[in-house]
């Protein structure tokens, strides 16, 4: 048996898009020129163009590892995942899951893959937790006697035994997510695909789920994980792939990725009176390589992160730029680069952009 659990080779996915559709929610990618112009009886129809959501992704995920796939919104992450789990057919390239081709052996892929997509929405709220698991066990062709035992095992494991007969609509988000994960584990698939598994969970529930993911790895599952929480990716992943504009732009262990920008520094500012012009001003300072900003919990308090080659050279100019226009510096630190900083360095965007 090969050491590779998931393999993608030059994976490409293109979708048709109308040039004049005005749809600004299109995934990022490169538009190819229109091939032909068609006419609509009621007037000229916009020429069809193609946008490339995934542009030649190469991936090799090893058996037994947790692989974190990170990327800003519209980077091609979801499209890649949907191709790997057979929901989407690639335009070109190949992908194999546990040795099975995602196009020609789609059913074997589905049998070998446990998926958590869309989290709590992927289960039936008008059924109980137990009914949901019994239902999906039948869909995965698990024989009834085996299914019954497996459902009880998972109910026990997910610690929902007392409420297994209640309708899912009465569960908390964390409980629903546990049912969704139990659903993915029903058929004991060797590979798990977890898309944002901790999204919307309270900190305690998220921590429990992270512990569960680590346990699943210990049990031999290969896990492909996507998350918007950088600390989570850092903590759980053996390796991380960063995807942007449809391409894998970096792939390594979290430590190796962080080492890439070890020589750089991150200047973290907390200030009030932030405005976009100030961002442009700060970005214009020599030695500043990237800037991200976000509002903190308190009103009008902003955190601004600047990556610089040499903070000592940049600091006087930064302080100078902050004076006037109602801006007030509240706090300033020079910190060690985190995985988030690596991400910003590579993509120019924060993960939540």
């Amino acid at each position: 048996m090969s050491d590779i659990a998931i393999q993608a080779h030059k994976l490409v996915k293109q979708f048709p898009a109308r040039a004049d559709s005005g749809n600004d929610k299109k995934p990022e990618g490169q538009a190819a020129p229109a091939k032909k112009r068609s006419l609509w009886p009621f007037g000229k129809r916009a020429p069809k163009s193609m946008f490339t959501a995934v542009n030649g992704v190469d991936l090799e995920i090893r058996r037994g590892e947790i692989f974190g796939l990170l990327g800003p919104n519209g980077a091609g992450k979801s499209t890649t995942i949907r191709m790997l789990c057979t929901l989407l057919e690639p335009t070109s390239g190949t992908a194999k899951v546990n040795g099975f081709d995602v196009v020609t052996q789609a059913n074997q892929v589905r049998r070998n893959l446990g998926t958590v997509l869309a989290g709590e929405r992927s289960i039936y709220w008008k059924l109980s937790g137990r009914e949901n698991l019994q239902y999906f066990a039948a869909l995965y062709h698990i024989p009834p006697t085996v299914a019954k035992k497996r459902v009880e095992e998972l109910i026990e494991r997910m610690e929902i035994k007392d409420r297994a007969n209640e309708l899912v609509e009465k569960y908390s988000t964390g409980m629903r997510q546990r049912i969704a994960i139990a659903k993915a584990l029903l058929a004991r698939p060797p590979i798990l695909l977890l898309d944002e598994p901790t999204l919307g969970l309270d900190p305690q529930a998220a921590r429990n789920l992270r512990e569960l993911i680590a346990q699943l790895k210990q049990e031999g599952h290969t896990i492909l994980l996507t998350t918007h929480y950088m600390e989570e990716a850092d903590q759980l992943s053996d390796r991380i792939g960063i995807i942007d504009t449809g391409k894998v732009i970096a792939l390594d262990t979290p430590e190796a990725l962080k080492r890439r920008i070890d020589q750089k520094e991150v200047i973290r500012l907390e200030l009030t009176g932030w405005h976009d012009d100030l961002g442009d001003k700060l970005k214009g300072i020599t030695g500043i390589e990237s800037l991200t900003s976000h509002q903190k919990g308190e009103a009008d308090l902003w955190e601004v992160n600047l990556q610089a080659q040499n903070s000592r050279h940049a600091l006087p100019r930064i302080v100078e730029s902050l004076s006037g226009n109602g801006t007030r510096l509240v706090n300033m630190n020079i910190v060690k680069p985190s995985l988030e900083d690596v991400f910003i360095h590579l993509t120019g965007k924060a993960l939540r952009d």
């Binding site: 049998r111 008008k126 869909l139 062709h141 024989p143 004991r188 698939p189």
Partner: protein, 290 residues
């Protein structure tokens, strides 16, 4: 959380028996969810009696207080039981209407709920989702037809002089045509993301052309020609013959023949459109889009 054994081979195996179990699970799921919304009582017991009332009262008004206008009705239809006539027409119309909404919207509802993808990610035969969603709908529809028949017999004194087995035979033979249209519809709705306009169009055509509340004989010839191409025309005529007249099998033989042909056509078309939709969805990602 306790520890589990190390991962081995997946537990499931694809066999015909397991596919049947999956289909049974879809039916059970759909039925369980259906009865957990208490509104099913309205759709099964109250709506069938309310809906045809408007047409029946209009007919009563037009036939005159002494029923003198019924002579012409009898010439055109061969029947005097105009309440039963209206009830059968509107019930068949409601059947097709409900199939369009429920079966036609089955996959779309799953899509909007967010569960379609999780079903699609399993190795089960895709058509089982649509077929499974249709069975509880068919059962509830048969119950509704039976209940409304009883309601009309006891509340309005409608005399169903025909044969119950023949009526059931007509309904059985009509199923492929009615549900084949529903299957094709369900697949189109997934692609188009909108059902309302299509439902209104189809049910409008059935209402106007198929003789739901009036005999085809009063239509202009071109309308009768259109009606001849719609299976609902034959279903309505056959159920009326089987349930309200004493003509026996002879009265429905031609309709049954036509319904078998229409059934084969619509079922094949429904499955073909479904296969097309499934293929297209894999190329466009339509399954996951709201």
């Amino acid at each position: 959380m306790s520890s589990q054994p190390i991962v081995s081979a997946p537990l499931g195996r694809s066999t015909s028996l397991n596919e049947m179990r999956a289909l049974a699970a879809v039916i059970r799921r759909e039925w369980t969810i259906f009865i957990r919304y208490p509104s099913w009582i309205i759709s099964l017991l109250i709506w069938p009696i309310i809906f045809p009332m408007g047409y029946i009262l209009t007919a009563r008004a037009l036939s005159g207080v002494d029923g003198s206008g019924l002579t012409q009705f009898q010439i055109n239809t061969g029947l005097t039981e105009y309440v039963g006539y209206m009830a059968v027409g509107t019930m068949i119309w409601m059947w097709q209407n409900v199939v369009l909404w429920n079966v036609g919207g089955a996959l779309r509802n799953e899509q909007m709920r967010g569960t379609l993808e999780s079903n699609w990610l399993s190795p089960t035969w895709r058509f089982a989702y649509l077929l499974g969603a249709s069975v509880p709908q068919l059962i509830s529809m048969l119950v509704m037809l039976l209940v409304s028949g009883l309601e009309y017999a006891f509340l309005f004194g409608v005399k169903f002089q025909g044969s119950l087995p023949l009526t059931l035979l007509v309904i059985l033979v009509s199923i492929p045509a009615v549900y084949g249209l529903g299957f094709a519809f369900a697949s189109l709705v997934i692609t188009m993301k909108e059902a309302n306009a299509f439902v209104f169009l189809v049910r409008g055509i059935v209402m106007v052309f198929c003789g739901v509340t009036y005999p085809l004989a009063i239509q202009p010839q071109w309308m009768q020609n259109v009606a001849a191409w719609l299976p609902q025309t034959y279903i309505i005529h056959a159920v009326r013959s089987a349930a309200l007249s004493t003509e026996g099998f002879q009265g429905i033989a031609h309709d049954l023949q036509m319904l078998v042909l229409f059934g084969a056509f619509w079922l094949a078309l429904g499955m073909a459109v479904f296969a097309w939709m499934e293929r297209r969805a894999r190329q466009t990602g339509a399954i996951g889009q709201y």
